[in-house]
Symmetry: C2
Subunit: 210 residues, 2 copies
C-alpha cells in the first residue's frame, strides 16, 4: 500500500514505511501498478490524477469537524489524528491549526522560511542573505542578517505561542524540526499527514480490500 | 530647499512643504537647479547621484549612536529626532528600531505588507488574495483570506508590541498609518525621515548657506 500527499511543489510518498519525495515534474512521469491512496491540494494536476489508474483520492473519506471554508486536505489530514493541540505544517507555507476536543477551531497561514528569504532578496540586494538559525530572541539585532532572522523566526514563534497557550504543538513539514526547537511542549512528526491518511483507511477498510 | 529620500522603489521629495514621489525611472530623468539635500539607500543609483550638480548627500553629517552594522541611512534619519521610542517604517520592507536615551538599541526587519501578498501568490494560486484589514486578532480565522491576514497583521503586531512595551511608537511609510491603528501609544508621521534630515541641516547650517 502506497500513500501519497501532493502539494504545490512536491509529491511525498510513504511506500509501506519507506518515505520518498518527487517534485511535480517527476511525479507526472511516476507510474505504478500498486494502489496509491492520495490527497492533493495542487489544482493544476487534478485532471492528471483522475486519469491515473490505481490512484484513489482519500479526501471524500475524511469526516472532520470544522467551519473553516476551504480548509486544505493536507491540513485536515495533519489535524485528523489530534484530539487536542496545535498543528504546524512548515513547508513552502506555514499553516497553524488549533484543535480542541477533536474540533478544528480555526487556523492561520504564514510564508514558509525559504519564501521569506526569497521575498527579502526581491525587495533589495541588501536584504539578500542567509538567516541566522541561532539568532537570540532576547537581544535586539545589531546587523542585517540577525534583523531579518529575528523578524522571521520570532514572528513565527510569537504567533504560535499566542495561540498554543499550554497546548501541545505538533510540527511537521521540512522546517518543522527546526521550529519545534523553539517550544517545550512540542513534537516533530515527519509523517503526521500520512498518519491522518492511515486513520481514514482504518475507518474505511473496504478501500484496501476492494 | 529640497529634501530627497531615495529608496529601492521610489524617491520621495519634500520641496519646502510640498511632498511628492517619483519612481526610480522617473527620478533618473529629474532635473533641478535648486539645491537638493538627499539620503539614499539604493546602491544602483549611487554613481548617478554623484554625477548630479546641486545634489548634496546628507549621510556624512548624521552623528548617530548605534553599534548596528550597516544601518540604512533612512532608518537612521527616522530615528534621529526621537530620544525615546520605537520607530516603524512600513514600506516595501518594514523596519522596526528601538531608541532609548537617544541611543539606538537595535532593530529588526520584516517584508512589507504588499510583499507578503506577493509571496503568498507565488506559493500557490489558492493563496493569491486581498488581505482583510479588519481581521479580528481575538478569533481564530475561518477562511483563507482571514488566515493570511491574521498571519501577516497579527505577526507584525505581536513583534512590535513585544519590543515596544510602554514606549511610544512612531510610524512612517506607506503602510504606517494603517499599522498605527493597532496601537494606543502610536503616532503616524509621514514626514519622519525628512524631520531627521532637517535636524541635520539645523546642526550644520553651513550646508544651506554655502
Amino acid at each position: 500500500m502506497i500513500l501519497c500527499d501532493i502539494g504545490n511543489s512536491n509529491a511525498n510518498f510513504l511506500d509501506n514505511n519507506k518515505y520518498f519525495s518527487l517534485n511535480i515534474k517527476q511525479f507526472l512521469d511516476f507510474k505504478t501498478e500498486h494502489k496509491v491512496f492520495y490527497i492533493n491540494v495542487n489544482e493544476q494536476i487534478k485532471d492528471h490524477l483522475k486519469s491515473l489508474p490505481y490512484f484513489i483520492d482519500l479526501e471524500p473519506y475524511f469526516s472532520f469537524d470544522t467551519i473553516y471554508q476551504g480548509l486544505g486536505i493536507d491540513r485536515i489530514s495533519a489535524c485528523y489524528t489530534i484530539s487536542d493541540g496545535v498543528v504546524v505544517d512548515a513547508g513552502s507555507a506555514i499553516s497553524v491549526d488549533i484543535v480542541s476536543n477533536s474540533i478544528h477551531l480555526g487556523g492561520f497561514i504564514l510564508p514558509g522560511i525559504s519564501n521569506f528569504r526569497k521575498i527579502f532578496s526581491f525587495i533589495s540586494p541588501r536584504l539578500k542573505c542567509e538567516l541566522n538559525t541561532q539568532v537570540s530572541f532576547d537581544a535586539f539585532p545589531q546587523k542585517t542578517m540577525d534583523a531579518l532572522s529575528y523578524g522571521v523566526f520570532k514572528g513565527i514563534y510569537l504567533l504560535i505561542k499566542d495561540v498554543a497557550k499550554n497546548k501541545k504543538i505538533y510540527f511537521t513539514g521540512g522546517d518543522g524540526k527546526f521550529l519545534a526547537n523553539f517550544f517545550e511542549l512540542s513534537i516533530y512528526d515527519k509523517l503526521l499527514i500520512f498518519r491522518g491518511m492511515k486513520k481514514v483507511l482504518q475507518e474505511n477498510p473496504q478501500l484496501i480490500t476492494n
